[in-house]
Amino acid sequence: MKNEMTVEFSSRSENESFARVTIAAFISQLDPTMDELTEIKTVVSEAVTNAIIHGYNNEEHHKIWMKCTIDDSGEIELIIKDDGIGIANIEEARQPLYTSKPELERSGMGFTIIENFMDSVEVTSSPGSGTTLHMVKQLAKTKTVYN
């Protein structure tokens, strides 16, 4: 049986923390380990920060969407989407250490971290039509679902 939620929030930096707790609260129904929880929260941080800083150039009046679907098997499907400037060269953007904003002391490791913590990461993006990350992660063991 699937459970689903979608949250839409303003592109404000304080909402990074909000998004982290929201995903943690939803995922906690699958009783993940604290480490798994930290991994998913880190992924959300990186993706949401990218949407705010890169997608929307720190303009606070835009919207970010996060959708999550979970099922009893412990599979987590996570989609994070912005309507921002988009990415011209996705392959380049996904390279470790690549950043288009070296002046901000960005590490260029966001995508690498995301790929490391998720089982699959699909990026859909083009200039002017925003960026969507479609990610899947299977929790280590099948755990009891607590209601």
Partner: protein, 77 residues
């Protein structure tokens, strides 16, 4: 001051930032303790049970413990 703090706490007027940070610190300690004990990362329900709080509180407080929240806390803690 201990008395006053306890009183403030009891009447629920303590700020969320402060209360969550305290719980957050307990979560961090308990997580390390259980990790050693079990040889793996504890689940969120295992932490909640060990601290006798709800998984809801674990989720919210864990986040709050991350960063200092206010000048107030810097001064008074």
């Amino acid at each position: 001051i201990g008395e006053i703090q306890r009183f403030i706490r009891d009447d629920g007027s303590v700020k969320v930032s402060r209360s969550l940070k305290e719980i957050g610190n307990k979560i961090r300690k308990k997580k390390d303790e259980l990790t050693k004990q079990m040889g793996r990362s504890p689940t969120i329900h295992e932490i909640a049970d060990a601290l006798e709080i709800t998984p809801e509180e674990v989720v919210h407080a864990q986040e709050a413990a991350k960063s200092p929240h206010s000048i107030h806390e810097t001064i008074f803690e």
